[in-house]
């Protein structure tokens, strides 16, 4: 391993600009003549728009234009789309209402977009928005996930019973049969709490229109600028793709929330032409809470059947998933194909049946948030497993190991074909890291101090490297999920890599360059990564679902193979040897069995000067592109163990130890991978202990700022012990599985399993706030007193 190659903890190339304040985020961009947009948002969760009077507002100082849904409709601007078709149990398509960028006739959640004001300054736009007179016909709000389908009030006329779909997966009959034969059945009712992603950089957009070219440019906070361009062009109808450039500069975190195509960027780019000026919008945090797509929000009943020896026989799950007021871009795929196929976890479960009812409510749209479906599935599986072990009186680690899948490949009853893994190895290492043997003593010590100590496991699996295009197409996806790469070698041997992946904190400029440096033998500083601009990179699918390593880098690897192949042809001419006799090693083209060689830089120069070969035999230049379409999902898996202590007097939970052992396949940069694990755990701990988006009965979001929505802070968390095991992924050229979401997937059940272990009962929901834990602990104390 070289100091900058694959496997080296290379310090990040992008950091210099971030630590010196030279990062360039969307809000840092200002276009000449720029005007500002302010969105008038609905204060009601559900209301008809009887009248919108903009006359007085339009006459206010600085106002350049005020637009409503009627103006978008008049310009034939289409609604926002959901790109994944789900079919009901009976085969009929899901039922979806329209999703206009600016409301038409009705508003459906607090924060829904009623009108936009474009003015010289933001203050003027906001002043004018306050002068718009809207006559709302307020309607009752549908808020509760569990009862939305039984509510008389209809969010969309197109979806009776507020039901988007009733979907299922698995084998119902076999599952029922297995449950009948079971010796033991564990039953749990679980709520996966609603979360707000809260990337630290709020969303922003700057729309620009070049009248001479008839072309639009949109600068936006996007994890996937090409998908944004595709949707804005092909479905919303802003402009043809060749007349629309989407640029996503540095992106300050996304966690899923910046995948989607939202109303604000759509309106900004459209309005730029309407007012003849660049139009800028930057979300404030309150707007982010109201209008960024939220995550999770499942209500689930789950059961696990085992035989007399504790062998798992079957699982059945019923989930109601809240999709909010409109279907966001990938919302329908999250509680279905990103959820139920993960219900087998790391376990050999012969029969699984899962039903999912998706409902509309008068709340913000719900879509993918770090893990997307997989944390929800892991929470179901790992809570069931832990509780079953307790009910059977078995050690939870041994019970897991008893039921782990040990032979690969393994076909689960829910679509997935696991290719490789070694779950027992991760468990063994995690038990060592946490000092499992010493836990009993630590628990006694805590007890002597009046504290309750608990330890909880989570053996998670995820399906990443999303995903084989044909497979997702057959499941309803509207796009293919391959990735593209182009490797441009310059005449002096420096390299530019154009990729359709787009970093929003993952360090692609470093890891991707490591791959290039490793393969071509060029110094790291001679490699630049180009991403986030549809005019530079031809096409790409973006960064989400832990796919940029497994899919994005595989595309780069494929293109690098082509560059090396072409280089060999050039070298063969220059070195006057047969192409078959040329080897490429450590940055040099070598003639086998001789000392004749051509270094990579010289080869590049020869490719461009083209003096040594005939253009009819070989094209000049050294530039190759590749599209990589995965052949399978990848299956990162691991074991997280959480050890914590509860103060029953206050309900405060302190995480004392955390051991994470993950198998991500081959690792390019362990420093960056560990950082991804840390961040994921923090978000999962946030879900388990601190975070929860709450609407009141009127549909008002009562957690709409950091004053009420509890973000994890440094003193809420411990340092983590992170270890790794490696089984290389067999389905992609680099053996990479993906690491971006693992922490967020693994950690919530580990925390809750530890809390319930400490409490000695299962009666606690997420987030386990001090108040909730205090109340649950009182139950524990009175039981202990009675014993």
């Amino acid at each position: 391993m070289s100091a900058t190659g694959i496997g080296a903890p290379v310090r990040r190339k992008e950091d210099h600009r971030f630590i010196t304040g030279q990062g360039r985020y969307t809000d840092d961009i200002n276009r000449p003549g720029q005007a500002h947009a302010y969105f008038l948002r609905s204060p009601h969760a559900h209301a008809t728009l009887k009248k919108i009077d903009t006359k007085a507002a339009a006459a206010m100082p600085g106002v350049l234009g005020i637009f409503t849904g009627d103006d978008l409709a008049a310009d034939k601007i289409g609604g926002l789309i959901c790109g994944w078709m789900i079919h009901n149990k009976d085969g009929s398509p899901m039922k979806a209402g329209p999703h206009p960028a600016l409301a038409q006739g009705k508003v459906r959640y607090v924060g829904d977009h009623v009108a936009v004001v474009v003015a010289e300054t933001l203050a003027q736009a906001r002043d004018a928005a306050e002068a718009i007179d809207v006559d709302y016909g307020v309607l009752p709000a549908v808020v509760d996930t569990a009862t939305a389908a039984q509510t008389k009030t209809q969010v969309h006329a197109e979806a009776p019973g507020n039901t988007v779909f009733n979907w299922h997966l698995g084998n119902k009959d076999e599952t029922e049969k297995a449950f009948k034969a079971a010796k033991h059945v564990t039953k749990l009712d679980l709520v996966n709490n609603r979360l707000v992603p809260n990337a630290m950089e709020p969303r922003a957009a700057v729309g620009d229109y070049d009248q001479g070219e008839g072309a639009f440019t949109l600068y936006t906070t996007s994890q996937n600028p090409h998908v944004a361009r595709l949707v804005l062009s092909a479905f919303i109808g802003i402009a043809p793709e060749n007349k629309l450039r989407v640029i996503a500069p540095d992106v300050g975190g996304g966690f899923g929330s910046k995948i989607f195509i939202y109303a604000e960027e759509t309106v900004c780019v459209w309005a730029a032409k309407k007012v003849g000026r660049p139009v800028k919008w930057t979300s404030d945090r309150t707007e982010a809470f109201l209008s960024d797509a939220h995550g999770r929000d499942h209500v689930t009943h789950a059961e696990l059947a085992t035989d007399a020896e504790g062998k798992i026989l079957a699982m059945r799950v019923h989930t109601t998933a809240n999709l909010g007021a409109y279907l966001s871009t990938f919302s329908s795929s999250v509680p279905t194909y990103l959820y139920a196929p993960l219900l087998s976890g790391q376990y050999d479960i012969p029969a699984i049946y899962c039903e999912v009812d998706a409902v509309y409510t008068n709340t913000a749209p719900v879509d993918a948030y770090r893990g997307a479906g997989r944390p929800e599935a892991t929470f179901v599986v790992e809570r069931l497993i832990e509780v079953t072990a307790r009910q059977l009186g078995k050690d939870p680690a041994k019970f897991r190991m008893q039921n782990y899948i040990k032979k690969f490949p393994h076909q689960t009853p829910v679509i997935m074909m696991y290719d490789t893994g070694n779950y027992g190895a991760s468990m063994k290492k995690a038990l060592e890291l946490i000092d499992y043997k010493g836990f009993a003593k630590r628990k006694r010590d805590s007890g002597r101090n009046g504290k309750l100590r608990g330890l909880g496991f989570s053996s998670y699996i995820e399906a990443c490297g999303i995903a084989p295009s044909a497979a997702v197409g057959s499941l309803g996806a509207g796009v293919g999920l391959w990735e593209s790469a182009e490797v441009r070698v310059n005449p002096i041997g420096t390299v530019e890599v154009l990729t359709g992946s787009h970093s929003h904190g993952q360090g692609h400029e470093t890891t991707f360059a490591q791959l290039v440096s490793d393969r071509l033998g060029v110094p790291l500083e001679n490699v630049s990564i180009v991403h986030g601009d549809t005019d530079k990179v031809q096409m790409g699918m973006g960064t989400y679902g832990s796919r940029s390593g497994a899919v994005g880098m595989s595309a780069i690897a494929k293109a690098l193979d082509k560059v090396i192949a072409k280089g060999k042809k050039v070298a063969a001419y220059v070195l006057e040897a047969d192409e078959a006799d040329i080897d490429f090693k450590d940055g040099n083209f070598l003639v086998k069995g001789t000392d004749r060689k051509l270094d990579f830089g010289s080869c590049a120069l020869q490719a461009y000067v083209a003096h040594k070969f005939n253009g009819q035999d070989l094209e000049p230049g050294l530039k190759e592109g590749a599209f990589y379409d995965p052949t399978n999902f990848t299956f990162p898996a691991g074991v997280h163990i959480c050890e914590l202590e509860i103060d029953p007097d206050t309900g405060v939970t302190r995480i004392e130890r955390w051991a994470a052992v993950d198998d991500f396949g081959n690792v390019i940069n362990p420093m960056i991978v560990e950082g991804q694990v840390h961040g994921g755990i923090a978000q999962g701990v946030g879900q388990a202990l601190l975070e929860g988006a709450r609407y009141n009965a009127d549909g008002q979001l009562v957690t709409a700022s950091f004053m009420d929505y509890c973000m994890p802070r440094a003193d809420d968390l411990p340092s983590f012990q992170v270890g790794m095991t490696v089984t290389p992924c067999p389905s992609n050229p680099l053996g990479i599985k993906g690491c971006g979401e693992a922490g967020a997937i693994a950690s919530p059940p580990a925390v809750i399993n530890a809390i319930t272990d400490a409490l000695g009962h299962e009666d606690i929901a997420m987030p386990a706030t001090p108040q909730a834990v205090w109340r649950a602990a009182q139950k524990t104390l009175s039981r202990m007193a009675a014993e």
């Binding site: 310090r11 990040r12 992008e14 950091d15 210099h16 600009r17 971030f18 630590i19 010196t20 304040g21 030279q22 990062g23 360039r24 985020y25 809000d27 840092d28 200002n30 203050a123 809260n198 990337a199 630290m200 950089e201 709020p202 540095d250 992106v251 300050g252 975190g253 966690f255 404030d284 945090r285 309150t286 929003h504 904190g505 993952q506 360090g507 420093m671 960056i672 560990e674 950082g675 840390h678 961040g679 994921g680 755990i681 923090a682 978000q683 700022s705 950091f706 004053m707 973000m711 994890p712 802070r713 440094a714 003193d715 968390l717 340092s719 983590f720 922490g743």
Partner: protein, 166 residues
């Protein structure tokens, strides 16, 4: 509109601003110092932290006019010429950042922490003292390591002249 004069990163600047202008807007929009960020509306996230007369403050909750005659240091003014400040170097070395958005505020807060609490900072102190800064990416693990290392490096005489100037 009203006139304001202050020193920003060692340079005297004068401008005519709307009294509503917050220090962060003045820095970002008037001076184009976009390293200072806005991440919330409730003075909690700390992405906007700068030093005002040597002390860390939230520039989103400070009026530009209130900084008349004051000395402001932003992330852009922390490095001494070409050399990074030891705290900047520590964040890079210990991977204390991912998306980079909270990073300028985090680094400015960390330098202020060292100014207040000295160079030997234990994990508990660092975690508690960071409660005015929110990061969504790192889980704080590497930020804590970076702050401890940066504090130590600052104590080894690596602290640049900027600090003395504050």
């Amino acid at each position: 509109m009203a006139n304001v004069t202050m020193t920003v990163n060692g340079k005297t600047v004068t401008a005519n601003v709307d009294p509503r202008t917050l220090l962060v807007q003045f820095l970002r929009e008037n001076l184009r110092l976009t390293g200072t960020h806005v991440g919330c509306d409730t003075s909690q996230c700390g992405a906007c932290v700068v030093h005002l007369d040597g002390k860390a403050v939230k520039s989103c909750t400070t009026l530009a006019l209130a900084c008349e005659g004051a000395s402001v240091t932003t992330i852009e003014g922390l490095a001494n010429g070409g050399a990074l400040h030891p705290m900047q170097e520590a964040f890079r070395e210990h991977h204390g950042l991912q998306c980079g958005f909270c990073t300028p505020g985090m680094i400015m807060s960390a330098v202020d922490m060292v100014n207040r609490r000295g160079h030997a900072l234990d994990e508990k102190t660092i975690r508690e003292d960071l409660d005015g800064n929110i990061c969504r990416c790192t889980g704080y693990h590497n930020i804590v390591k970076a702050v401890a290392a940066g504090a130590e490096a600052m104590g080894k005489g690596a602290a640049p002249a900027r600090q003395a100037a504050e």
